[in-house]
């Protein structure tokens, strides 16, 4: 929140805005059906691609929006920092996360949404997250070397390949639209599931 319109909104508003955004995020997540684990795992079985669509749309909306705001000088992109790109640890972590996603039927955000509407499996999943965090933290010294390996630093894809971030965003938008179209075709062929 920090870099956004510092002349209008001072830093003291950060927490309030964060709470409002969090409420809005949770509301949208729930109203788009993301508290249902059947809908969430549909992307793995091919009968519902809402997850892919929503997250891909969010990604291109955010990147186009941020680049426009950067262009108008409303937001200081240099002040936004991402996680350092540790290639192999991220790949391994992504696989573990994906396995948890398909078996548990939630991702960390949506399980909280499920708790919000009182789903028991949401509570169980959340307990699992806390347990996993605890186990990971306790065993951290074991993986520490791997965790910090193949670190490329704080780079973006367009920085790493040295291409214009604007044309990169155009490319991502086109890929997103193609993905939407392809998933639509897949869904038509897969037997629809009632849930």
């Amino acid at each position: 929140m920090g870099p956004l319109i510092p002349e209008i909104l001072s830093d003291q508003w950060n927490n309030i805005i964060a709470i409002l955004m969090g409420i809005a995020f949770g509301f949208v997540l729930e109203s788009s059906g993301f508290s249902s684990s059947r809908k969430l795992v549909g992307v793995f079985y091919g009968y519902d691609f809402a997850v892919l669509r929503v997250f891909f749309t969010a990604a291109i909306t955010a990147s186009i929006g941020l680049l426009f705001m950067d262009y108008f000088g409303w937001v200081d992109m240099a002040a936004l920092d991402g996680l350092p790109a540790r290639v192999w640890p991220i790949i391994v972590g992504g696989i573990i996360m994906g396995m948890g996603f398909v078996t548990g039927g939630f991702c960390p955000g949506t399980c909280v949404t499920a708790i919000g509407i009182g789903k028991l499996d949401g509570y169980v999943f959340f307990g699992g997250i806390i347990l996993g965090v605890f186990v990971f933290s306790e065993m951290f010294p074991l993986f520490e070397n791997f965790y910090n390996s193949s670190n490329l630093g704080d780079v973006t894809v367009s920085e790493y390949f040295n291409i214009s971030p604007y044309w990169f965003t155009v490319g991502i938008s086109i890929i997103a639209i193609i993905a939407f179209y392809v998933t639509l075709q897949i869904r038509k062929r897969v037997k629809s599931v009632e849930y």
Binding site: P6, I60, T61, F68, Y71, A78, T169, S173, F180
Partner: protein, 241 residues
Amino acid sequence: MKKRYIFLALVPIVLSVLLAVLPDKSNSIDAKRNQKDLKSAIYTGVTPNNLLLESVNSDRFMQPDELAKVILGQDPSYLLLDLRDSVQYGKFTLPGAINIPYQKILTEENQAIFDSEAYKVVLFSNGTIVSDQVWMVLRRAGIKNLKVLNGGLNQFYQLYLNPPKPAETDPQEAFENYSFRKAVGAHLGLPNPDEFIPGGAAAVQGSTISTGTKPTVKAAVKAAPAKVVVPKKAESGDEGC
């Protein structure tokens, strides 16, 4: 339904292409990234806008009374940094202050001082001009946790050697401040201003106290003549604030 999908699909593509062909991106992240030399400045330093905002914010100052409490309490979260030359430093400085003449502030061996986040560095010199300039230079170099002593040593000195006497109608707080300042002055064993500030007697207006302290002030500072009296008075000053 189908038409709506096509329209929505076109929106991000049109917007992103528009973004790519927009002219004059001199202010954008891409332009900044292409100026390779500036890259480190962008990520470690402070942007001109923020520097301007910070420089007009009074937060960057440390008021003399705050500093007095730090000195009395020997607060380890502040490091006092004297920016004057070593001759002036040798004659008088604040208790616990270290000396880096402002000309040498950016040399490599001095950078370790600014590396730690455990304490704040309070910059001071005779006035505020030099310490303000040093603040600006260090801030541009990306160093945080800096404070400037408001008014510099001159004002600090004046405030504690000859604190402004409150009028009888002033609130209790003003009297407590007054006695606190007197106690601090006594604790610091402030010497005659003639000894260390060029034209000091004129700078410290209406100075009534003239101690016979010699230029070797450090001993006097440590001796702290009124030390027994101080804690009580300082406490009463604390209550008022």
